[in-house]
């Protein structure tokens, strides 16, 4: 066996003492073949850029869609009675609702907040009747933030008691016009009959048949009166945040204020939207994975060439006493430098492009203005930088380059000095 002078700490010394040396060597080795290095780094950069850019553009689109949903009716955050969301019963109310609204309004990041009370009822006009959702709203507040009051097909939005704002399909089904009377019959809080009569002052058209066929808005005071609610009772406090991205954090703050109540963020309020976003994100990530695999194989190929070309050098390193593991670490460091170079290029390009387009916007195809307006979408798309995509790209390419270097690197363990040194003769 090896005598005492070769103590067992040699391996640790080699790793520790040579660490910064092989880091520098790895960096310099990267530039032994500049063209190959730039090609590999560009491949890594392209993969990261593609993911970040595509995800950022999608994120911009999703933000607009979520914001549209929030602004039309749902808000970014809602506060309800703890049982109301799962089983919306008339009796599950927020008590002292105006005071709650006031305390929520005082939070930073709250753009608007308004109270709503709602129930289903039979709505009639002359001889026709249909089921509909009656929503009592604070009209003056809703008019300030909700887009529904702006989607007027005929007439105007609510401005006083005894008025109704009716969906276009429901109005057509009932044969209603602005100025006609609408009778609402439902079940009041104590089980009695809730009855109200309102004059139609406006007909809205959202383009969403389900909404236009079933929604009637009336002033909340009229609703409270007809459905036997107290004047400080409501079913929902709807909160609008400054933006989609800040709304989740705001929801947490709202929850801390609305103790004992149920606070819902937009993920809960718009589950279909969440599914749609996740589905779209998977599509982009699938394309990224395919590109990442192609890039990984090209890096494997490049490192195979590197190991082949430098076989005598690795043989010499092994001969002078460098352990195979340390040689592999050196190759891994080269891969890390390559990865760092590649992701710097990719992230740099993505930040510049997304940043520029975030300011100027991406103009959507000419001729689609009408369609976009109908969907309440802007005619320019503003990408929002996706940090999630950045992390996914960075980590995936790190794993990819390390796997790529392991394939030829593991051959080094079997490298025999004599044969390696002979390879240059």
């Amino acid at each position: 066996m090896v005598e005492a002078t070769l103590d067992v700490t040699v391996g640790r010394q080699q790793r520790r003492g040579g660490a910064h040396g092989i880091v520098a060597i790895a960096w310099r080795n990267l530039w032994r073949n500049r063209r190959r290095t730039w090609l590999m780094a560009s491949g890594i950069g392209f993969a990261v850029w593609m993911l970040v850019f595509a995800q950022s553009v999608q994120m911009g689109t999703f933000n607009v869609m979520v914001d549209n949903g929030a602004r039309m009716s749902l808000g970014h955050v809602q506060v309800q009675h703890p049982d109301y969301h799962d089983n919306p019963r008339l009796e599950d109310l927020l008590s002292d609702a105006p005071a709650l609204r006031k305390s929520i309004e005082s939070l930073d990041g709250v753009v608007a907040a308004s109270l709503r009370a709602q129930s289903f009822a039979l709505v009639s006009a002359e001889e026709r009747s249909f089921g509909a959702q009656i929503m009592g709203v604070e009209a003056d507040r809703e008019a300030k933030w909700s887009t529904l009051p702006t989607m007027i097909a005929d007439g105007r939005y609510l401005s006083g008691p005894g008025e109704a704002y009716v969906g276009a399909v429901l109005a057509r089904n009932l044969g209603l016009r602005v100025g006609d009377e609408l009778v609402m019959l439902g079940t009041a809080k104590q089980g009695g009959v809730a009855a109200a009569v309102a004059r139609v002052v406006g007909i809205f058209d959202t383009g969403m048949v389900d909404v236009d066929r079933a929604l009637v808005q009336i002033p909340i005071a009229d609703f409270q009166d007809a459905w036997s609610l107290e004047v400080d009772e409501a079913h929902t406090l709807v909160v609008l945040a400054e933006g989609v991205e800040s709304s989740l954090e705001l929801a947490e703050e709202v929850a801390e204020t609305a103790v004992g109540l149920n606070t819902l963020n937009w993920h809960v309020l718009m589950p279909e939207m969440v599914q749609f976003i996740e589905l779209k994100a998977v599509g982009v990530q699938l394309i990224f994975v395919l590109i990442a695999i192609i890039v990984t194989f090209s890096v494997i190929n490049a490192f195979m060439m590197t190991v082949f070309e430098r076989t005598p050098e690795f043989g010499m390193l092994k001969a002078i006493g460098m352990r195979p593991g340390a040689i592999l670490v050196q190759l891994q460091l080269e891969a890390i430098w390559l990865w760092a170079l590649g992701i710097s290029v990719g992230i740099g390009a993505a930040v510049l492009l997304v940043g520029a387009l975030g300011i100027s916007g991406i103009p959507l195809p000419a001729g689609t203005e009408e369609i976009l307006r109908g969907m309440n979408m802007p005619n320019r798309l503003y990408p929002g930088y996706s940090w999630e995509a950045t992390w996914i790209g960075v980590i995936t390419m790190f794993v990819g380059t390390q796997v790529a270097v392991l394939v030829p690197g593991l051959r080094l363990r079997r490298l025999r000095c004599v044969e390696a040194l002979r390879a240059q003769e």
Binding site: R32, A319, I320
Partner: protein, 233 residues
């Protein structure tokens, strides 16, 4: 075993398979090499001199026989232990110099001390001192690509002895050098041998190299046919 013996080979054999044909590179070689000796192993191509150097250096394993270097028997060592033995007890000079191309001369000399875990200040001082003693300080910042063959070989020698190895193994060190440069190099090796007591074992078929060695061992067909032990100082 006497502590003056650096290398001891007993019945060392090595057979290669080349295209299914066995090639007996070494046939039961017995050989001892004392501390402070400058020995050249000579012989025609295929005589087994490089193979003998390789098995002594732990770069290759014999099929039979035992090799002991500075009291350590190589047969029982695994690859990692052999690496550590080479790192701490041996210095290598290769035919093609084999410097690390991306490092300067100074960094090449420092590198092996980095592997040993020597601190930055000490290794820089020792490396510069070594370059100075070999009269190549002016090459310190040059990379191998900017040096002549003779200069590269001098740096390779500096790298091989900066760790004070018990044994310097040089395989055809003059193969790529002209006569004048070879003479310079050999004078350097002789000086290191005489002044620093470095034990040198070189495989060569160059008569100039042989003439500088104190002792010449001739190999033919994998066996020692002549050993001029009388020349040993």
């Amino acid at each position: 075993m006497s502590s003056d013996i650096v290398v001891s080979c007993k019945g060392v054999s090595r057979t290669y398979q080349e295209e299914s044909v066995p090639v007996h590179a070494l046939r039961g070689v017995d050989f001892e090499f004392a501390r402070g000796e400058f020995v050249s192993i000579a012989g025609p191509s295929g005589s087994g001199k490089s193979t003998l150097l390789n098995v002594i250096g732990g770069l290759d394993r014999p099929d039979a026989g035992t090799i002991t270097v500075d009291g350590v028997e190589l047969n029982g060592l695994n690859e990692t232990e052999l690496s550590d033995l080479r790192l701490h007890k041996m210095g290598f000079v290769f035919q093609s110099y084999n410097l690390i191309p991306v490092l300067s001369a100074l960094e090449n000399v420092e590198f092996i001390m980095q592997l040993q875990g020597v601190g930055p200040a000490e290794r820089a001082e020792r490396a510069m001192s070594m370059l100075d003693s070999l009269d190549i300080v002016d090459l310190a910042d040059r990379r191998p690509g900017d040096m002549s063959g003779g200069q590269q070989q001098r740096v390779a020698i500096a790298r091989s002895i900066v760790t004070n190895p018990v044994l310097l193994l040089a395989d055809e060190p003059s193969a790529n050098l002209d006569s004048a440069t070879t003479e310079d190099l050999l004078q350097l090796l002789r000086r290191l041998n005489e002044e620093r007591g470095v034990s040198i074992l070189t495989a060569t078929h160059d008569p100039i190299v042989m003439s500088y060695a104190q002792r010449q061992v001739n190999l033919r067909d994998g066996a020692i046919v002549e050993d001029s032990a009388a020349k040993v100082a």
